[in-house]
């Protein structure tokens, strides 16, 4: 009996110590979304229960190791206790109840995390090897390289992948969602803390998976409006001034650099150096001369004409608009 009392007290102490200790260490990153607050509530509850269960097993285990060690010279067996059906039922039924309770709480929590705000801001997210692009259909903005979000307004992210599976993950938002080719997946986030965060791909997607990041900027409503206006006027200017090699280079940096070099060395895709006006050998044996029409077709239907010694189905379709394609061609022209 004495053993049970001591162990009981030690279990309670250990539980408190474990819980407080984990609290002091600090387990989770900053809470930057409304969903994070909800999710962290469940985390906290789980940490309490798990601290208790951890103590419930380790304390009697360590206690036994100290108190019930074999004494020097004692070669006899211990007491013959075979089991106890009532105990077994207890430690089957109580965990069962806890487990069901947790599942129920987990389901409620998930419901809360998914709560829909009909006023949500729509943002389209596109993932590709190895980068991200963002569009704001409400404001007619396309293919931006940073994700700007207004604080305290729910955003509905509609996500697609151009090539393989990727995953949208911002640790401070506490959530991820895969981007699956051929399907649009959704994630709802309500940022609550202005600041700079990093979006990173969480699903292994090949060579540069580790570097597949993009900045996420949460700003006040006014700053957001100002940013939108600025981007809109930049876009308007661009469509007036015609194709520009500078913007083409920008697009190259953002989307194409992973596979195409400018210095004559081949990577996953052929180099762009000297593409215009030189012979291109295709994998069906044909040859042609690199010109604007060929480049345009290569971008829009990459599998139509595949360059010799490269693989089809590798180069993604990016959905660049007319102006962007012209910008890229303008840029390639400068690479003689």
């Amino acid at each position: 009996m004495r053993h049970f009392v001591i162990v009981g007290l030690l279990v309670i102490t250990a539980t408190l110590l474990a819980y407080l200790g984990l609290g002091v260490v600090g387990l989770l990153p900053e809470q930057a979304s409304a969903q994070a607050v909800t999710i962290d509530w469940l985390f906290n509850l789980e940490i309490i229960v798990l601290s208790f269960l951890f103590s419930l097993i380790t304390v009697p285990l360590l206690y036994s190791l100290v108190v019930f060690r074999k004494r020097e010279g004692d070669e006899t067996d211990a007491v013959h206790i075979e089991g106890n059906t009532r105990l077994e039922i207890t430690w089957t039924v109580i965990p069962l109840v806890i487990v069901i309770a947790f599942s129920y709480l987990g389901a409620l929590n998930l419901g809360e995390v998914r709560r829909v705000d009909p006023q949500a801001l729509d943002v389209k997210v596109v993932g590709f090897q190895w980068g991200w692009s963002f569009s704001y259909p409400e404001y007619g903005l396309k293919s931006l390289s940073e994700l700007y979000l207004p604080v305290n307004r729910q955003v509905l992210l509609k996500m697609e992948s151009r090539d393989v599976i990727h995953s949208f993950y911002v640790p401070e938002f506490r959530m991820k969602q895969d981007l699956v080719p051929g399907q649009i997946t959704e994630l709802r986030v309500t940022p609550v803390e202005p600041g700079w965060y990093t979006l990173a791909c969480a699903e292994l997607c090949g060579q540069d998976h580790a570097a597949m990041r993009a900045p996420v900027v949460v700003v006040s409503r006014e700053e957001f409006e100002a940013w939108i206006e600025q981007k809109q006027s930049e876009a308007a200017e661009a469509s007036l001034s015609g194709p520009s090699a500078d913007r083409g280079e920008e697009i190259y940096r953002q989307y194409c650099k992973a596979c195409h070099s400018l210095d004559g060395s081949n990577g996953t895709g052929p180099t762009w150096r000297g593409l215009i006006g030189e012979k291109v050998r295709l994998d069906n044996g044909a040859t042609l001369i690199g010109d604007e029409a060929y480049i345009r077709r290569s971008i829009m239907e990459p599998n139509a004409q595949v360059v010799e010694d490269f693989n089809p189905n590798v180069m993604p379709v990016f959905g660049l608009d007319e102006l962007q394609i012209e910008d890229v061609i303008e840029f390639i022209k400068t690479l003689q």
Binding site: V25, L27, L28, P29, Q35, I39, L42, F43, E46, I57, T58, L61, S64, F68, T76, A78, V79, H80, I81, E82, G83, N84, L87, E88, W91, T92, P95, L96, V99, I100, S103, G106, A107, N109, L110, R114, V164, I165, Y169, P171, M175, K176, Q177, L179, V180, P181, G182, Q183, T198, A202, L204, C205, Q207, D208, H209, A210, R213, D283, G285, N313
Partner: protein, 622 residues
Amino acid sequence: MKKFFSLGLVKGLVYQIIWTAIGAAFVTLIRWILVSRFGFEMKLFAFDRNNVFFTEPAWVVGGVFGVIAFMVGVGAVNDWVKWALGLETPAHPQDEPGWRGYFGPSVDHKVIGIQYTLTSLLLMSIGGAFALVFRTELTRSGLQFLDPNLYNTLMSLHGILMIVSILLGIAGAMNYLVPLLVGAPDMAFPRLNSFSFWIAVPAAVLLLSSLALGGFDTGWTGYPPLSVRAPLGMQMFFLGVFVAGWSSILGALNLIATVLRMRARGMTAFRMPIFVWTAMATSLISLTATQLIGLSFQLVMFERLLGMGFFNPAQGGNPILFQHLFWFYSHPAVYVFVLPGLGIISELLPVFVRKPLFGYKWVAMSSFGIALVGFLVWAHHMFASGMNEYLRVPFMYSTLLVAVPTGVKFFSWVATLWQGKIRTPTPMLFILAGIFVFLLGGLTGPPNATVSTDLHLHDTYFIVGHFHDTMFGGYIFPFFAAIYYWFPKATGRRLNETLGKLHFWLMTPAFIVLSLWMMRVGLLGMRRRIADYDAAMGFDLSHLIMTIAAYVIALSVLIFFVNLIISIRKGREATGNLWQSRSPEWQVPSPMPAHNYPEPIEIVGRPYDYGLEGSVYVKVGK
């Protein structure tokens, strides 16, 4: 020299290499005819990183030829071929004497058990060495000496080699122990047993060959569409796993037949040693689920070779379907990995506590409970995958349910220790650490099971830490315990205790530090499977600590190997019942002769009645 080439293993490998080349040449010839005669448009040879001389179809067919040739070369199908030709073979084939017997197709379950175990240790060392390489790379942020492709390949190979190593390790333990524990002279189908072991060898060769054939960058999960685009190494990975699956399925079949049909007189179900229960539960999973991983990989192979778009949305396929098929095996597989280890814990605890296993029947049934529930939880790997959202809730319920039978095991172990007379030689130390580490792995499971918290944890280092805990606690620690415990049975000598304790006291703290730190950085947002991390996240120090811990583990395992080598020749002799166990195999002198017990044994009591005056479990002879 000639003697060397007559070794089954060497002959098998030579056959495999030659026939791989012949197979590849054969396909290339057919393709050449199609091109030159019938005007097909395709490449015969390719000189890029992705194909390496022959084209992909040629390599794949070559790989299949190679596996078959290996089995012929090693001699694992000799008797069947002779029977098919109407020839007689000896009823009890003799092994070559001495160490050479271990390099050929023996049918003695004890030899096969040791073959499995040694192969497992070899693969574990290779997989572990790969881990050290990329662990070193991760010590600091920024790329040091690996390029991302090599990093991905090493990381992927580490995963699959460890998995195959574990499968072979448990097969080794089950092969060696189950016939001894149930009092049988051998497994039910000795030749099939030999076949199951040997087919794992060409499978391992295929897996390793992927390193030379462009590698693969998908992780061991091989999700399409990435795996459809990966280099040629991908196909060797798929083929290797497919072939290794045969080993699992056939081995499981054999084991089930053995337990059902070959138990000693008087050994009713609830008088079986507890390890036999877990071996049964494990084998039932292997027998029925392994097909699904083979199938899912085969579908991707066909997608690559024949353009069948099973998982390609442009052709009406669905990438998420693959994940369902894959996890339908690969979740239950984790119970395949850990159940035998948990069985070893339950088997050894009573011996070192000198008390019956608390609640034997409950512990026995809990293994089946885990196996059964384990079949219903696979989609918990897919909470963020984009599958139907509502599916996530039932899978949360079923996943959390696993905690119940697992809890029964923990409570029973603690109750077994309570009021015992605990001794702590090396095997017991590993058992205790196994319980503790598996507890860490078990407790970090529920946060991955509740959907909303998993949305944060999924695909982070938290998961990496969690499953390394379950694998070390459920497999590595019990497996080492088993080797320290049964080594005398196999060799008649015992392993050096000092070196054993050194192994233990280096490995345990280092591993606990490693896994806790993995979980820590994971909680803070460190993604898994990344070749490099952002210095701004401030993880450099954590990674330095993890790398040091990994090297300490490696050092401890090195000490273990030294111990093995020294003790096998110079270890203290131990031919009797070294641990005062009641189990049948310890009632006869070590090492065991071929066909095990000199006379049939009879079971006349319950297995773990330690402390019950005058009780008997096994009667040897009349």
